[in-house]
Symmetry: D2
Subunit: 197 residues, 4 copies
């Protein structure tokens, strides 16, 4: 049945399980035809209006921009091209932009390497190498999450970029806002101690 | 922008907040055009293929059924027409069907009255009255959730159906599976005591 | 060291793990000597002042009661001796008393049988048999929690009391306060349906 | 009644609410007299055997130590006296010791200033000033939790120690182990960016 296929399609949505997928179907059944028509129209138009930035590989909505196929950040001449921050995914980039504390450029990897080292084919390592080789930024900032997969990905990126002799830094580790000493792990305390100032 | 409008549309989905709505948009941006085309096609086809049962008002997917505009349960001559269970919403009905312990018919209210008594216009009280008046079931089972809104709705239904002189029962109250005496409230203990057997 | 032994002793307290046991020790170190002296005095006096009711086996604080070795409920001539409710533990009894909906007597088992049937030696099955044989209540109400262990214990009690030919009932099962139909399990729905009224 | 007074005494224990305090009383009632005697004996002996280090103000269990009234860390000639780490409470110190990454000395404040600046009388600011004035460590490391109260306390300590012209550092801020970029706050991202290396 179509509803079963639709439930299956919703299951691909991030964070959606079978129960919620089924609720989505009943929700759509109960909504007006106008809402559903508008929803599908918006999905299609948003999809076709989204471009992938040819420089940082994030997705963005096409607008009349002077330079084609570049996102707002990459097209902005006031952003510092000497700093290139590597992030895992679009929402990481969005969150960092929201804070307003970073003035450089980005590169979106599209994922992390698994602990077994799998996933090399799924993330943009080749595109990263090409970009760094061509643009030669003064500093690359590895801004993956402070997890084992993030560590692992950082190590691998450092290895493949080594021939390019570019300076590579990592986000500072230490106490996140709200962290309590009583519950902090060895690594965090060690980092916080070494990074004291 | 379309993506903002799409985020707004996703916010109407049950249980979806701003962060997840945004993730949905990025998810769609990263998926293949084929997936997105199929998703919207399935949404439209499912929506247009869903019928609202003219007897119990649940939504169901149209199939070649002998009797038009009736859901599988309402069209089934083996279901006991003397029992009419009133539920709040489609997924309640689905969950009860899944257990296989009920052999009667249903009526889907489409919501509950708020504690202030609001919402009378939004739920199918008129349709319930008409159905009961016409079909005269031997027993109506009020199967709303054991909440104040559920109680309130039960009381109101009993009042409006009173002229029809039909027997009305409520689901038994007591200990749910897993309930512990140490943490049970007065109402549950009282119901469990009165309903002992 | 004494502090290690004290941590070990605190680990026997219900719900206390190693981290909290250690915090207790530091807490006591930082408190005044007066507080600690009073605490240990209260522990000893409470312990020596607690009696176990010879009739229901609950623990209670000795006061000048007319009948010795009987708790307040067992000594109360206004409580209905024809009803005997079997509960797992003292706090269950306390919670039921708090609700004020029960006017009979109690018996505290002191635990439940494990699913494997273990624990028969640890709970007061012999004492229950003797009490029922001697007092011959009109009805025994099994008020264990609605868990598998509770079920299992109920079945076993029914079996050992069978020769005494006393009426045995169980607390009513159904929807606990707050239960929602969408998330209810088969057993609860089945019980709620059978127990409708 | 004694049991009520005991419940009240247990309510002062860290993290203990009324329900658990009551369970403690029933637990003690059901335990052997031996256990309860040993518990109170251990409480009294631990309390009387705990010393407060005259140098760092932590609590420790007295053992035959060469230097009286000094805890194991303060009495250890191999610990670096040039580093003085200020922590809020004993368990913070214990956790840092557990990691084994710090080789200096400590000072236990005994609390933090509230946001309104209250609590100055309750924490060991005077003792800290005296110790720093007398021992003149090369560096003081403020190791309070990364909360507003911790910040506030750090600022106040910096102010009162200013006349002593000692170098004061703070634990490094940045990504704690496990932190994800998508959910990090502005302050953490800003600190992680500034502290990159």
């Amino acid at each position: 049945m179509n509803s079963d296929k639709l439930i299956e399609a919703f299951l691909k949505f991030p964070g959606i399980g079978p129960r919620q997928a089924k609720r989505f179907v009943y929700f759509l059944a109960g909504e007006s035809k106008d809402y559903v028509d508008q929803l599908t129209r918006l999905i299609l138009e948003t999809k076709s209006g989204m471009r992938q930035c040819k420089s940082c590989f994030r997705y963005y909505e096409e607008q009349n921009s002077a330079r084609e196929n570049l996102c707002r950040v990459c097209a902005d001449p006031n952003r510092d091209s000497d700093l290139l921050m590597i992030v895992e995914k679009d929402v990481d980039l969005e969150n960092i932009e929201r804070t307003g504390v970073y003035g450089g450029k980005y590169f979106v990897l599209g994922g992390l390497l698994s602990l077994g080292g799998n996933g090399k084919a799924d993330i943009r390592l080749k595109q990263l190498f090409d970009k760094v080789e061509k643009e030669k930024p003064a500093e690359i900032i590895l801004a993956t999450s402070a997890t084992l997969e993030g560590e692992n990905t950082n190590l691998y990126i450092e290895r493949i970029l080594e021939p390019l002799k570019v300076k590579i830094s990592r986000l500072g580790r230490g106490l996140s806002t709200g962290a309590e000493l009583e519950y902090s792990d060895t690594e965090t305390i060690s980092n916080a101690l070494n990074g004291r100032k």
